[in-house]
Amino acid sequence: MLHLILFLFFGTICVAGAINLLAQSHPINSALSLIAVMASLAGEYLLLGAEFVAAVQVIVYAGAIMVLFVITIMLLNAGKEERTQGSRVAILIGVPGVLIGGVLVAWTLLHRPDMQTVPIGALKGDPSDIARLLFHDFLLPFEVTSVLILIAIMGAVVLASRPEAIARPHRSTPGPQETRELVATGKDHR
């Protein structure tokens, strides 16, 4: 009973946050709604007995990724977005697509006779179990993913850095010879 109440509580926050994310016109409000979604998802994981996943969800998504979102919004000083009439593609394809998807999921959940349920807490979410999966059973995919992320980071660094900054070493102060020249010519070459 308590489980159901808590499930509905976190579920409501999650869905409300997701809708608010789309409805808000200011980016920072949208980012905060996304944090609420992440945090309530962590609450749902906790209810399922997956404490480790819940903690990681909070640390990684709410604590790290969303902080970067918020910093970016603050740095760019992004203002309010303008309201548009909505695109025609969204109405013609998006809305029916969502409806069909929702109906499919509901139908599958309701009409599968052989659907197996697992009692809450029976699925182990211990750190040791997850570690065994990651570093033993799925070691290769895990390592390949980490290499992929590393490549992505390097790509981002290369894209973000200006080409002239790579080509020529950065010099902030002129050397003694240059200083003499600067004094002689009376202008700054930098």
Binding site: V56, I59, G63, M74, L75
Partner: protein
């Protein structure tokens, strides 16, 4: 234990721990003022009560009675939410900190801890990582360039140092083989304190924790000489007090974690009659936490502030590689021994 007893015991524990924490926060401010005064050859607070011991009460009353100014140019919802977010997350993390061992009270017994979760350390890290939002949102919603710069600095600094902070703890976790704070302390019995086994990790943790709590030498988010007061420039009265309390509550949490992870928590010589055996562990714990709080103040009045580029370079180019190296070496030694 029936559900009613459980709830009653939990409520009692929460109230006691919260009361102790808030008192500790108030008296850390007193400690800070007193120690800094003596370091600078002054007296510090002396007027209110003996040794100025009632100064925190006077400060509290002042904060409550002061006029609460809200500038017209702020973004109100977040401006009000920011100090609340800061304080709530700063206080919540104390709930998984164990203060001592099992105690028997009449027919019942309980651990001296509000709640024992088997991933206690991750819970603390998760909650403290959410505390960034208070500072960042305060800076942004104040709509003031100094606040914004302070908020940006704070969030960049906290995100950067959180990485080395987390990595420095991995060595301890490898040795203890558990994420539960209680198990980590139990693994340090017989003077196998982690400070001796993981000295590098301890210093990385200490430095990153100072940066996480925005304390000198990492107090750039509120650097008075350049940013007025940083992210809390526009805050006054109780809203400012909430940031202030959050900072000190975070310091207490960091000191508790340092004690638990590296200094054997409540472990220490225990002797005498049963009642003394119950009190002594808590006493050891409090003593160790107090030493860390003292160290905080000592460092603040000894070291000058970092420059911002130095701060970032130190975090990413020195602390992070060191922390990674520490993890690799610890893992190799543990694997070789097993």
């Amino acid at each position: 234990m029936s559900i009613t007893t459980f709830i009653i015991i939990s409520i009692i524990k929460s109230v006691v721990v919260l009361g102790v924490l808030l008192t500790a926060v108030a008296y850390s401010v007193w400690l800070e003022r007193k120690v800094s005064a003596h370091i600078q050859n002054r007296w510090g607070p002396t007027r209110v009560g003996p040794f100025g011991l009632l100064q925190p009460v006077a400060d509290g009353v002042k904060f409550i009675l002061k006029e609460d100014l809200t500038q017209p140019h702020v973004y109100k919802p977040l401006y009000i939410a920011a100090p609340i977010i800061s304080l709530v997350f700063a206080i919540t993390s104390i709930s998984v900190i164990p203060f001592g061992n099992w105690v028997d009270i009449g027919p019942w017994g309980t651990y001296l801890q509000v709640t024992d979760v088997n991933i206690g350390l991750l819970v603390v890290l998760g909650i403290t990582s959410m505390g960034v939002y208070g500072v960042a949102l305060a800076g942004w919603s104040s709509n003031n360039k100094y606040s914004l710069l302070g908020g940006l600095r704070a969030s960049a600094q906290m995100v950067s140092y959180e990485v080395s902070l987390g990595l420095s703890l991995v060595g301890v976790l490898i040795i203890a083989g558990s994420l539960s704070l209680r198990d980590i302390v139990d693994a340090q019995r017989h003077m196998h304190w982690n400070i001796f086994l993981q000295p590098v990790a301890f210093f990385i943790y200490l430095i990153s924790a100072y940066a996480e709590t925005n304390r000198t030498p990492f107090d750039l988010p509120e650097a008075e000489s350049e940013l007025v007061a940083g992210y809390h420039t526009e805050y006054s009265a109780m809203k400012f007090a909430m940031f202030f309390m959050a900072e000190y509550a975070n310091m207490v949490t960091v000191a508790c974690l340092a004690t638990l992870l590296f200094f054997g928590g409540w472990l220490g010589p225990v002797l005498g009659p049963p009642i003394l055996q119950m009190i002594l562990p808590v006493l050891w714990f409090c003593l160790k936490v107090f030493l860390f709080m003292f160290l905080y103040v000592w460092v603040r009045w000894t070291l000058p502030r970092f420059r911002y580029d130095q701060l970032m370079a130190f975090g990413w180019k020195v602390l992070l590689p060191l922390a990674v190296a520490n993890v690799v070496v610890t893992a190799l030694i543990v694997a070789w021994r097993a």
